[in-house]
């Protein structure tokens, strides 16, 4: 703790706090283009400069810790003029195509230029034309729009430990690219999209499928159905000025019908199905010793891709249950048309996901064509959906509440918390407990697996047996957990964990790479809270109690891990080379 002064206002601060953060305590937001709450300060943009009163030297507030007795000025004529010049310099190095840029109206650079009232270009334009990299079909790299803030490189290397992105060349030639100057699609990129969620400009952008979705919706020959991922409902409102965590499930159902979908399903339902399969798998391995432990969750396509590239020794530990998106896709082209007597070849499955990697998942292997067709046809991220709503001119906020199509629309509380870190684990434990004990838990909430701690370790006792669990999110946190498993295996020691949940993005899907911009831990916590409240408000808290899940098994699949379930709802994994040539 210490005391300092900012703009003549006394401020108290904790040790190590930066000037930038301390200034927020006195209601000053020092402008910056490179600092993001998720990444360590790099000092790249040079906008956040401040002065110590009485000196002329300017220091970067993003990376300078505030010290006892410091007297800081955050704006005076000279500071504002210098910031303005730097901003004009950045602008001189940035293409002028705001009107047709994906970030138009939602761009940190554009906003700041507007705030500074820059009306003319004083300096010469020095923009390097660089090829656009569309090779991943999920994330588009447009390096000429990059302002070299370094956020994407830091999240890719430090937060995600993927090291697909890198800066190449030097000086004014500096550019972002897949490391080694190859195509991103040939790199170790796992398509998590965290780079795109952190980019302040339009340099990294999700592949846009909205036009394709409009096309299929208008095609009289197609029967379009849709599914909404758990975490979308608590984030989509941010696109309309609502608070993070605002639960808009029922408005989304209404919206999607108005957009023209013939059936509106909920990925929360298929999450319940995933749990039925995965919890059964766990019980098989834990109680009946059929298969190796720990069991590792596989709902996250970036995590699956990461494992297939970097942790192939863990393949046998992976749950073979497909992700909720793919389970919904497979059922929407078999169970649904069979029940409704529709031609499955006409069904188009669109999913609304918080995630860019889901665009990759729909064709990641032959198993994604289990219905005989591509199970899921198109994926929109939350950000794309927001644009679609605006294109359609729908007054989203004032839509009436509607219900989903019940066949695959009703969900349990366990299904909804899939969207946050720890949620899959919690949901699986609720059902695994039931499968083992034939009873339901009295208290279904596992507080130890909740929250934004990078790795959460705890244990749960089921019928006298201790189940050790770990939950990791943010791919850089995986190493620690997996190494503990490896070490134990090597030394023939007891297993550190029996069950591991991994989600690639920090916070899980609520912090997904396709979610609305402006994510931070506060936003993540608010979105997670929205899901936990949804869970609490649910009549059914456990997947196995969902009446429509029961109906699905009774009328169609038989039992979890049945032959039919195996065919439709399970997949295999294979090592993938880190670099393709």
């Amino acid at each position: 703790m210490g005391k300092a002064i900012i703009n003549d206002i006394p401020v108290e601060f904790e040790d190590g706090m930066t000037i930038l953060d301390a200034a927020k305590r006195v209601q000053v937001n020092i402008p910056t283009l490179c600092k993001h709450p998720d990444v360590a300060a790099s000092g790249a943009c040079g906008i956040c400069i401040v002065k110590v009163k009485g000196t002329r030297k300017m220091i970067r507030s993003c990376c300078t810790p505030i010290e006892e007795g410091m007297n800081i000025i955050t704006h005076d004529t000279e500071l504002v003029a210098t910031r303005r010049t730097v901003l004009e310099l950045i602008l001189s190095n940035h293409p002028n195509d705001c009107l047709k840029c994906g970030r138009n109206n939602n761009c940190e650079l554009q906003n700041m230029v507007a705030d500074f009232g820059i009306r003319e270009e004083n300096f010469k334009k020095v923009v390097r034309e660089l090829p656009i990299d569309r090779s991943t079909k999920t994330i588009i790299l447009e390096p000429s729009k990059c302002i070299k803030c370094g956020r994407c490189v830091t999240v890719c290397q430090e937060t995600q430990n993927v090291w697909a992105l890198s800066f190449l060349e030097r000086g004014v030639e500096t550019r972002i690219s897949a490391a080694g100057d190859i195509k991103l699609g040939e790199s170790p990129c796992v398509r998590c999209g965290q780079c795109s969620a952190h980019c302040p400009t339009g340099a990294i952008f999700e592949h846009d499928d909205t036009i394709k979705v409009w096309e299929v919706l208008q095609d009289p020959d197609k029967h379009c159905v849709v599914q909404i991922a758990p975490s979308v409902r608590v984030a989509v409102g941010e696109g309309f000025g609502m608070k993070p965590g605002t639960n808009l499930t029922k408005k989304l159902y209404a919206l999607l019908r108005r957009l023209g979908f013939k059936a509106v399903f909920d990925t929360n339902f298929s999450a319940d199905v995933t749990i039925m399969e995965e919890a059964t798998e766990f019980v098989q391995r834990f109680v009946y010793k059929k298969g190796p432990l720990p069991l590792i969750t596989t709902c996250c396509p970036s995590w699956v891709d990461f494992m297939e590239k970097f942790h192939t020794d863990m393949i046998e530990h992976f749950s073979s249950a497909k992700s909720p998106q793919e389970i919904m896709g497979a059922l929407a082209k078999t169970y649904y048309p069979e029940t409704r007597k529709i031609d499955p070849s006409k069904v188009v499955v669109v999913s609304i996901m918080p995630c860019t990697a889901k665009k990759y998942e729909i064709s990641r292997s032959q198993d994604m064509f289990a219905s005989g067709y591509q199970d899921t046809d198109l994926v929109l991220t939350t950000r794309e959906l927001i644009r679609m709503i605006k294109q359609a001119g729908i007054d989203f906020e004032n839509l009436p509440d509607e219900d989903p199509d019940h066949l695959m629309g009703d969900y349990s509380g366990a299904g909804t918390i899939f969207g946050t870190t720890g949620g899959v684990m919690e949901a699986a434990l609720r059902t695994a407990y039931h499968f083992i004990t034939k009873e339901n838990l009295k208290d279904v909430e596992f507080m130890d697996v909740r929250g934004l701690e990078g790795v959460k370790e705890t244990s749960v006792t089921i019928q006298g047996s201790k189940v050790n669990i770990a939950v990791a999110h943010g791919l850089s946190n995986v190493e620690y957990v997996l190494n503990k498993v490896r070490q134990a295996k090597e030394n023939n020691e007891p297993l550190p964990y029996h069950f591991i949940e991994v989600m690639a993005c920090p916070g899980g899907c609520i912090g997904g790479g396709g979610q609305p911009y402006g994510v931070s831990n506060e936003v993540r916590a608010a979105r997670a809270q929205g899901l936990y409240e949804d869970d609490e408000a649910s009549v059914t808290r456990c997947s196995h109690d969902n009446p429509f899940v029961k109906k699905l098994y009774a009328e169609y699949l038989g039992a979890p891990l049945s032959e039919k379930a195996h065919h439709l709802l399970h997949t295999k994994y294979k090592p993938r080379p880190e670099y393709k040539r």
Partner: protein
């Protein structure tokens, strides 16, 4: 060799020997000038004449303008320094000086060099005196005596006190007090600390550090070992740019020899103190001379600076406290500890103590390495040591501090040189480049050259440096081509100031210095370029207006035949003229005309 003990160290001390020593300067520059031939000739001459003399290969003697250099010493007294000694001259010198015993012989007086007494050699004390590849030579010159004193007293705080008393400041350019840097690192608790010697000298025209590394490697080694002992580090790195192969070779040899003699490794000189060193090569990025970028480079990362704080002395290489000192700073350390901080503090000015090595180049007669006490005036350096201009033209300015420095016009030449004074004049001390310019040098051209260097070397991380530098260079180019407007000068000032204030590291913060200082002192020259489209120094070729002086033209057709764009019509009957619209101002006609008939 058995590892040395403290007592044994003294046995190497130089005794006033009888006999003759002949030294040949064999640094990179000497070798390039042909000193290998000189050496061989002397060797054979000595043998042929039966003269019993010790022939030594030594480091840089500093007088680059007169390489190859030879010195002859008798009974420890220097009898003569000879310059421009090729094989023929070598034979003459040996003949007269040693065989006939007449050092004053008129036949060899043309080779004799008299150096200015204004130089004081502390850093360069052994350069050109000892054989850098022989540790015993260094030991003979009180080598490792500073370390011995430090280890005998055994108190790191004593070292800090002595350094504080000496007033030594970092010679890499920043001028940060060395004792303070060391005491920060000493004050941090850590399981591992590091010492790094910054040998990434990259300023155009500067070679102070190379000369020390090549000519006296052990003094830098000794400085690092003392630093290690003082801050509690057990490992150190020499970061040397790969373009210095001879320096790398000699440092490696010095490390190996120090190991052999028990001056590096476990239990140095039989004490509990252990310290080891290794060499890391820089890949040629100028910005890797900046502390944090240098650390990133050693760690194997992209060589880009990171924000400070945390300072490397608290959190440096691999997150551990790290002291990074420049070659010249470290070479000062052993002498200070051997002779005492009090002695060192007698030299120099109030705030800048000791000496500074400069690489004096440009339009000056005696180019070379000079070591002068702080406080000496620029005029003394340029005229008394440098001998003024070689061509008799008027000296216009001096550029100090390398690409990050500024240009100081002649009217300020009486300023005593120290860190603060140079900064007040809009330049910096830098690592010690000093380039003298005369009337033929165009200030826009100079600014363009230095800024161009920094633009090339910008790591690209921070916006002010990355984009600001490029923009400035664009304006300078426009000015030199007559395409700029006077409004551009205000824009240039605005960008320059923003770069100074908002760049992340020293490179960006100082990259605009050449522009600002030339604008400050030579604004008229800028305006002449812009308004009159004329370059007074005759450097900016795009501003030339070539024409043929008919009275001088002999109609030889050479210009016409050499013009690459056919801009010179005419024939021997009518004469020749240049069509300005076609002329690309390449200067071919000017070059080839034998009669001075082309005007520009």
């Amino acid at each position: 060799m058995v590892k040395l003990s403290m007592a044994q160290l003294d046995s190497f001390k130089r005794k006033k020997e009888d006999g003759v020593v002949v030294r040949v300067g064999m640094s990179s520059c000497g070798v390039a000038a042909g000193s290998k031939d000189t050496f061989q000739k002397i060797q054979s001459e000595l043998k042929a004449n039966g003269i019993d003399a010790e022939l030594m290969k030594c480091g840089c003697l500093g007088m680059c303008y007169a390489e190859p250099l030879v010195e002859i010493e008798r009974h420890g007294v220097l009898e003569g320094t000879y310059g421009n000694v090729d094989a023929k001259a070598a034979a003459e010198i040996i003949q007269h000086h040693l065989v006939k015993g007449n050092p004053q012989a008129a036949e060899i007086s043309k080779y004799r060099i008299v150096t200015s007494e204004k130089q004081i050699r502390i850093v360069l004390r052994n350069c050109g005196v000892i054989d850098p590849e022989n540790i015993e030579d260094y030991l003979a010159q009180d080598g490792y005596q500073g370390l011995k004193k430090v280890l005998t007293k055994g108190a790191p705080d004593k070292v800090l006190e002595e350094l504080k008393l000496s007033g030594l400041r970092g010679r890499g350019g920043g001028g940060f007090p060395t004792w303070m840097k060391w005491s920060f690192a000493r004050g941090v608790q850590a399981d591992q600390k590091f010492i790094i010697c910054n040998g990434d000298e990259g300023d155009p025209g500067a070679y102070m550090d190379r000369s020390v590394l090549e000519g006296d490697p052990h003094s830098v080694l000794e400085g690092m070992i003392i630093a290690g002992f003082t801050v509690g580090a057990s490992r150190g790195f020499f970061y040397i740019r790969a373009e210095y192969p001879l320096a790398i070779e000699r440092i490696q040899k010095a490390i190996d020899q120090a190991h052999e003699y028990g001056l590096l490794g476990e239990h140095i000189l039989g004490t509990k103190f252990s310290f080891d060193l290794e060499v890391r090569l820089g890949a040629g990025a100028f910005v890797c001379g900046e502390e944090t970028a240098l650390i990133a480079s050693i760690e194997g990362k992209r060589g880009c600076p990171t924000p400070r704080p945390p300072y490397p002395s608290v959190k440096g290489l691999w997150g551990k406290p790290t002291v990074i000192n420049n070659v010249e700073t470290l070479a000062n350390v052993p002498v200070i500890l051997n002779k005492g901080g009090e002695w060192f503090s007698q030299i120099g000015t109030k705030d800048s103590k000791g000496t500074k090595v400069f690489a004096l180049t440009g339009k000056v007669k005696n180019t070379g390495l000079v070591e002068v006490p702080m406080g000496i005036t620029l005029r003394e350096i340029v005229f008394d040591i440098g001998g003024g201009t070689a061509n008799g033209k008027k000296i216009k300015a001096i550029q100090t501090g390398g690409p990050s420095g500024g240009v100081i016009p002649e009217q300020f030449f009486d300023t005593p040189v120290d860190y603060e004074n140079l900064q007040k004049l809009g330049s910096i001390m830098g690592s010690g480049g000093m380039i003298v310019m005369d009337e033929d040098d165009c200030m826009i051209d100079i600014a363009k050259f230095y800024l161009g260097f920094c633009v090339d070397e910008s790591c690209g991380k921070c916006a002010p440096c990355r984009i600001g530098g490029t923009q400035l260079l664009g304006y300078l180019k426009d000015i030199s081509e007559g395409k700029a407007s006077e409004d551009d000068l205000a824009k240039m000032r605005r960008i320059s100031v923003a770069m100074q204030k908002a760049s992340l590291c020293g490179l960006g913060q100082t990259a605009s210095n050449p522009v600002l200082s030339t604008l400050q002192y030579f604004e008229e020259e800028y305006r002449t370029h812009i308004k009159d489209k004329r370059c007074p120094a005759g450097k900016c070729s795009q501003l030339f207006n070539y024409s043929i002086i008919q009275e001088k033209c002999r109609r030889c057709t050479l210009c016409q035949r050499n013009c690459p764009v056919g801009a010179i019509p005419g024939d021997r009957e009518q004469g020749f003229w240049i069509v300005p619209e076609k002329c690309i101002r390449c200067g071919q006609c000017f070059e080839v005309c034998k009669f001075g008939a082309i005007k520009r």
